[in-house]
Structure formats: C-alpha cells, structure tokens
Assembly symmetry: C2
C-alpha cells in the first residue's frame, strides 16, 4: 500500500525513480525506456509489446534469512502443530518444530515437498488467500523484526510504476509459488494476480456436492526456475519480454532469452552489495546464489545494480504506514 | 480487424451491442453489466474483479465442418506432404491426404497426437506464428468458401468491446491450442496473447548454440477442456471470473464454477439454432456437442442465446474489409 502511494505522489511532482541515485544504472533504464517509447525513435516498440518481467525474491523484496515463502511454511507448521501431534516425531516437521536447521536441510527435496503438502495443499485458493493474508498481517522477519510487506524494495516499486506509466505491462516471474505471490502482488507491487507466473501445484476440480471448487493438490506441476522461467513466460504470455530483471543464477536463462530477442532489449541484475542497509551476498550464498549470471552480465552488457551505490533508500520508510497520506488512500 | 473497427464506430455513435436484437438475452447482459458497474449498485464489483471468460470455437467463431485448428492441421499435412513421402502409407497422414475421414477417425487420440506433432511441434512460437498467419491469409473454409477470420461472430465481437468499455478484462478459455489462438486473438478479438488460456504442448528451452529459444515439443501438457477449464483459469488468472460464455458441454464446468461464486455472476450459452445463416446443432453434433450444459442452463438460470432470434447479423459484413474506415484504422 505504502509503495504505491509514495510513488504516485512522486509522479505527480514530476519526479520519477526518486530513490535511484544519478548513476549509470538509472541512466541505462531511462535511456532504454526513452528509446522504445518515443514515437520518433528508430527503436520504438508499440505498447502491447512492452512486456517487462521481474523476479520476486531478492529482486522486489528481500530473501534473508531464507525465501519468505519458506519462512511462511515454517510458521504454518508451528501454527498447525497442535492439530498434528504426530509431527513431534515425523520429519521434516520435527526438525522445523525444534528449529533444527541441520536436520531440516538433511530432508532435502522430499522434506520440502512434505512441508508444502502440509501448508499449501488441499485448499481452495480463497482458503489459502486467507491464511497468507493473516500471516502477512502478523508475522515478522526474524532478522529485521519488520513485517514482510515492509521488506519490499522502494526503488523497485518506483521502477514498476515508472514502466507502467510508460505503457509497459509488468509481470512477476518467480521460482516461488504463484498462489503465494498472488495474495500480495496487487497490494504490494500493483501487479494483478493474472500477471504472476511462478511455480505451481497441480490442481483438481471437485463438484460432488454441488459446490464447484478448484483445489491445489500436493503434487508439484511446474518449477518456474532456471530454464523454467523462459518456458513459464512463453506458456503464460506467449511473447518474449523486452525488459527482464533478476538477482540470481535462477534468472540467467530468463535474461539470456529476453535479451537475445530482435530489437531493443534490456537485462538487469540486482546485486546485493549493501551489508549496512540490507545484506551483501552473491556467489557464496545459498539463497540468491549469483555467480554465472554476474559473469554473463558483463558478456551480454546487462545493467548491474549496485544496491549500496545506486539506491538512496532500500526499504520504504516505516512511518509512512501511519501517515495521513497512507491513511487517506 | 474489421470487427474492432465496426464496434469502435458504433460506440462512438452511442450504440452498444448493435447487432443484438432487443430480446431477453441482450437485456440480461445489459442488466447484469449495469448491476456490477454502477457505483451505487449494491452488487457493484470493482474493475479488477471484472474477469470475463469466453470459449472460442462455436462461441467467438464458427466450428463447422470441424474445429478450425483441425482443418489447419489437415491443410498443413497437405502442404508439407512433398517433404514427407513416407506419409503416403503412414497413418494418420495417409488418411488425411486421401481425405478418408473414416480411416482418420479410426486413428483416435493417437492419430490426432501424431498430426499435432507433425504440424505444431518442434518450432519456436515465432516460427509457428508465421505458419498460422500465412494459413489465415490464404485458407478458406470448405463449407462457406470464406476466410476463417471472416467467420467470427459479429455480435460476440461487440459483446467483447462492450464489456471492455465497462472495465472488464476479457480472456479466451478454449480447448484449442493456446499458441494457435494467440496468433489471431489480438487482431480478431482485441484480446492480447497473455489473455488466452488453452490446451498446450510441453515446451523446452534450448541454448546450445548461443541462440536461446523456447521450442514446443509434441507432448501434450494440458488439455483445457471440461474440468480443465476451471483448472486452467485458476492456474492462469488466480481469480474466479464473474462472466463466462460457452457453447458446448466442454464449457459446463467453467460455467458451473463461475456462477457458483459469491456475489453477482453471469453464465451464458450460445445455442446454434440458425440453419439458414450458420448451422443448427446441439446434442446430436460431435463438434460443439451441447446437451448436459443446456439442461444445466435451465437449472442455474444461465442465459441461452438463440442465434436465429437474438442476433440480427452472424458474420461481419464482408465488404467492410475494403471500406475506407477499414483501410484507415
Ligand atoms: Ca531471486
Ligand atoms: Ca466451443
């Protein structure tokens, strides 16, 4: 909510990308957008082809100490534990309840699937929406003490607004769960649910009792990561984007494919360089691992955002939530 | 092209749904739209929730003597036959080349999959687009002699424009192939590719030679028909529509699920009753089979469009393509 209000106010004042410092990254963005939107430009791109895709974790919001969806699943296991006494001894639940990260990681893919099954599946989307909304309104990040919704990146919110004001259609393309992100994509980023492309569970249709409903099963149907990103975009949008932003090796193929298209294309990586205001990490990090894509950025001439140098603000100012402007809108 | 021009001109004149006769179907549409869009209505629905879904074959364009995509595949087999001498004896190709419908139908699902593999797969979307565009510009329907793009329903084009003018977001939800429909959805219906949900082939990503591309394989990944329609909508849009239109039993679950949602909902069936201007068919037809859904319409109070009585025009007037207005826009 904050983000949108702040940015709208800024655009009314004639400012754009207000929390981007006047460095090369900002110039690269503005130059590209001018190039494809100015009517007399030889590189003009008609509005319907101005597709911009954004990774979510580590690109639009933070991802430490772990992907927020994983922290949600962990919180859910704790919340649901009283109804499941068997979890005290059953993995991966026992490890989660005991905060035993070593045992949890030892469960591997099977453990994560069980956790998703227990916290994301056998629900309609409406039911899942309520659960995630309640979590967003209460849960806090263990490292910052902030609500997760306050850990979105202010400059990226401005970039989304700026692109939309220039006729771009903005999409989220995430390795995270589509249904999870859809709960907050509109309120946090101004991106409607139908413009969220993520990993997904297989769904089934039920109507045995005259109450038709679509239910998420516990079977993973599609993993929207690495090669999955261009495939997911192609299946969901049917057009190659002209603008793509990510922050890890999981975005490498999305950026490669986007920027290899004919005509003007823009690729960008968010490099987490800011140990003071956020965290500094890249190729040694398990979460948000960035190595190959950073090398590819040089080769392909993608813009690399240095968070410490290119952004004057990282998270939205906390006070805004209770300011008059926030309350009125 | 035609459709959009005609309808825009009409709206400028203050007319809407101009080729819908003043019968119950038109009133039902207009009353529902007023109910959900007028600010002071107790049933007001905010714009972002105004999702309208349309079946394609038999709902937005005709489907005789067979689904047009099947006729496209047949035409493609004929076009490609010189490169495939083995097809002279290999099924289902031999049956297609000999126009032997009995043998072709005997091939069943396996035959159709082989035909799809030979005509739709192992291509990038850009390559497939070129093939379909060329077919649309040249091929003609064997029963009418018309170009397929001239066999869209004028009243449905007006309905799409009317809903969009009222803040609805319109989607195609078809059992046909997503990639096929995306080629013409924007030019014929004003619906962008990312708002087309259909059946799809599995895709793979390739970049072994520095030319990143997404390729359609010959493996069917999802069939967007019957239960597949609510599942497909749920996965792609993440919201339950408030307005759904179909014409066959393949749309039953989509209409059931749409109209079972809370608040105001609208379900509509196009009943092909016009043997003079189009074709009259329902429960005895293999293509566009309509039986259960027609019974359900009574039970659920869905609007049933009687093409012969409710539409003053079926197909767009042929001359418009070369009119001044058509040329200017
Ligand atoms: Ca990421
Ligand atoms: Ca149909």
């Amino acid at each position: 909510f904050i983000l949108v209000n702040v940015s709208i106010a800024q655009e009314q004042n004639g400012e754009t990308l207000a929390t981007w410092n006047n460095s090369a990254a900002k110039s690269a963005i503005v130059n590209f957008v001018d190039r494809v939107t100015q009517r007399d430009s030889p590189d003009y791109v008609p509005p319907e082809q101005r597709i911009a895709v954004f990774d979510n974790d580590g690109t639009l919001w933070a991802e430490k100490p772990a992907y927020f969806q994983l922290l949600f699943a962990k919180d859910e296991v704790t919340r649901l534990a009283p109804e499941h006494p068997e979890w005290k001894t059953e993995q991966p639940f026992a490890a989660i309840l005991n905060e035993d990260m070593v045992s949890l990681l030892a469960q591997g893919k099977g453990g994560i699937e069980k956790m998703i099954g227990a916290t994301h599946a056998n629900m309609t989307r409406e039911e899942f929406n309520r659960v995630v909304t309640s979590w967003l309104n209460t849960a806090r990040n263990p490292l910052t003490g902030k609500h997760y919704r306050d850990m979105i990146y202010q400059p990226m919110g401005e970039l989304l607004n700026y692109l939309r004001a220039k006729g771009f259609k903005t999409f989220i393309v995430s390795g995270g769960g589509t249904d999870f992100i859809r709960v907050f994509s509109e309120s946090l980023y101004g991106i409607p649910p139908e413009q969220v492309i993520g990993s997904r569970l297989k769904a089934r249709y039920e109507n045995d009792d005259g109450h038709p409903r679509v239910i998420a099963t516990d079977e993973v149907e599609f993993v929207n990561d690495k090669e999955g990103k261009p495939i997911g975009i192609s299946q969901a949008i049917g057009r190659r984007p002209i603008f793509a932003v990510g922050n890890s090796d999981g975005d490498l193929q999305m950026l490669e494919w986007t920027t290899a298209g004919k005509g003007p294309r823009f690729g960008m990586l968010i490099h987490h360089t800011d140990a003071k205001r956020e965290w500094a990490y890249d190729r040694k990090s398990r979460v948000g691992h960035l190595d190959k894509a950073l090398k590819a950025a040089k080769y392909h001439n993608w813009t690399v955002v240095d968070m410490a140098k290119d952004w004057s603000v990282v998270f939205p100012p906390a006070k805004r939530t209770t300011s008059k402007r926030g309350a009125q809108n």
